[in-house]
């Protein structure tokens, strides 16, 4: 992180974090966001553009950007990279056939310079489904160990359906971001 970005962080509204949620379509991004916000998840359409949720988490204000993952609109993801503190990559752990696609898109996005300072939380979602890959298996498949050593990252199994793992994942993310950007407090 260069001097400029440190100055930017200080200037920003205090205790605010910008979090970008991406991943293939159908992975469960919108469901996760609504679930952690305590909202009804019974009718969710595939996301055509994006949604923003502002929520208070511990003493922080999170601005969560949930962007649709259909192939046609993946090219819009780049519009949201700027000023991202935390990146949440959501993967459907039961969709084995599209794991290659998922890996490709993840690594594409990690090349992005504007995201190089962002903490990365990988949510191996849909753990409630029988036969879903475990987080360990998922880490191997996505070859996460090959990631740039300076990246702060964690993989977490979860289910937006039961809620398991979501808070644990976001706890880590928020703590990790806080320790990086609010160190100057």
């Amino acid at each position: 992180m260069g001097l400029l970005s440190i100055i930017r962080k200080i200037k920003r509204k205090e205790k605010e974090m910008r979090i970008l949620m991406v991943g293939l379509d159908n992975s469960g991004k919108t469901t996760i966001v609504l679930k952690i916000n305590g909202e009804d998840t019974s009718v969710i359409s595939p996301t055509l553009g994006f949604n923003i949720k502002t929520m208070t988490y511990n003493k922080y204000t999170l601005n969560i950007w949930d962007v649709g993952g259909q192939r046609t609109i993946r090219s819009y993801w780049r519009n949201y990279f700027e000023q991202t503190d935390g990146l949440v990559w959501v993967v459907d752990s039961s969709d084995l056939r599209r794991l290659d696609d998922c890996k490709f898109e993840l690594h594409n996005i990690l090349k992005e310079e504007r995201l190089s300072g962002a903490s990365l939380l990988i949510l191996a979602n849909k753990q409630d489904i029988q036969g879903a890959l475990s987080p360990d298996e998922m880490a191997k498949v996505l070859n996460l160990d090959a990631m740039d050593k300076t990246r702060h990252w964690k993989i977490m199994g979860c289910s937006a359906y039961t809620g398991d793992g979501l808070l644990e994942g976001f706890d880590w993310l928020v703590q990790d971001i806080a320790s990086r950007i609010y160190v100057l407090d």
């Binding site: 159908n26 359409s45 055509l48 046609t72 519009n79 029988q130 090959a146 740039d148």
Partner: protein
């Protein structure tokens, strides 16, 4: 509302002149809308504080166009980094405005606005690089200057070398069959995902309630499904008929196929053509119970609310159509018998 609408500029050809003429009226109208909105806010779907929501496409678009014009003019006058920072903030606000209103905006408008924002950001980036000389070495230029540097970075290559990239695992499903009738009944407690792939000239009957369904590479098949308490993902099918009920339905790369659907949300298609839609029409012993269990007993009419991600215009997509009533199957009754 009516008299105001005819004064509103068409967003797609918004000229400065029409906007100017309309802008005073709008200010007044926005105020009224804001007041109206307060009285409506109790029945709004989300409890978010949403001060920028108008719930009217026309008033949203006129406000969007106004902001865009003012950003354009700010941009053209920007001389320093701090000017540009201010413009960036305005663009972010504009983006937020779109997000906050996207729940009622037609999809075409959302996409048009996103494109506009994306272009604005690009312009800011371009102007920034003119004003502020880059301090860093430009890795991006490397490729252009040598012409030989491979585009794939080492990190990525490492990922692509590993060939069998995911554990081969037997997930429940029907795979690689031809000319067969395939029947599966899901019991109440055993909820899981199911895959049907690589089938030709088969008939598939799935009864009961399942959580997720993946369909891949089917040709000339008939697929009848009870209820899916989750999502269905259908990719690469041709000459097929599907009758299914699900919370979410995504269809990619389908050709010349008919879909009889019940869905709790809007079905979406991407890279499809010749696909036709009709309402769900399946019956078997106990189907009412299965549908009720998955919260799918209600006919929402969503089978006709198809969103084509490849077709961003306001006019009907040429890739899908409503199946004419006289071409629909009257209704499908399935049993466990293989016939």
């Amino acid at each position: 509302m009516e008299e105001e609408q005819e004064d509103l500029p068409n967003p797609n050809q918004a000229s400065e002149k029409t906007l100017d003429a309309a802008s005073r009226k709008h200010a007044a109208m926005l105020e009224r809308l804001a007041n109206r909105k307060q009285s409506l806010s109790s029945r709004k779907p989300s409890s978010d504080s949403n001060p920028d929501s108008f719930e009217s496409t026309h008033s949203f678009l006129s406000r969007f166009s106004q902001s865009k014009l003012s950003i354009d003019s700010d941009l053209s006058r920007s001389k320093s980094k701090s000017d540009l920072d201010r413009v960036s903030i305005s663009i972010s606000d504009l983006e937020k405005l779109v997000a906050e209103n996207s729940y009622f905006l037609p999809s075409y408008e959302v996409r048009t606005c996103l494109k506009t924002i994306s272009d604005l950001k690009q312009t800011v980036e371009n102007v920034t690089s003119e004003i502020v000389p880059k301090k860093k070495f430009g890795f991006k230029n490397k490729k252009a200057s040598t012409g030989f540097v491979p585009e794939i970075e080492p990190e990525i290559q490492a990922f692509e070398q590993e060939k069998p990239s995911y554990p081969i695992r037997e997930l429940p499903g029907f795979r690689e069959k031809e000319n067969e009738v395939l029947v599966k009944e899901f019991e109440g407690s055993e909820i899981g995902e199911f895959t049907i792939s690589d089938l030709n000239f088969c008939e598939v009957r799935l009864k009961g309630c399942l959580r997720a369904l993946f369909v891949h590479r089917l040709r000339n098949c008939k697929v009848y499904v009870g209820s899916v308490f989750g999502s269905v993902l259908i990719e690469e099918v041709e000459g097929c008929v599907f009758v299914l009920a699900s919370h979410q339905i995504r269809i990619h790369h389908a050709r010349e196929s008919d879909f009889y659907l019940r869905a709790r949300s809007r079905p979406i298609i991407e890279d499809c053509n010749g696909v036709r839609f009709a309402p769900y029409c399946l019956s078997y012993d106990g189907i009412e119970r299965d549908l009720r269990e998955a919260n799918l007993e209600e006919e929402t009419g969503n089978w006709a609310n198809v969103d084509d991600f490849r077709w961003l215009r306001a006019v009907q997509s040429p890739n899908w159509s409503v199946l004419p009533e006289n071409e629909r199957v009257g209704g499908v009754t399935i049993s466990n018998l293989d016939e």
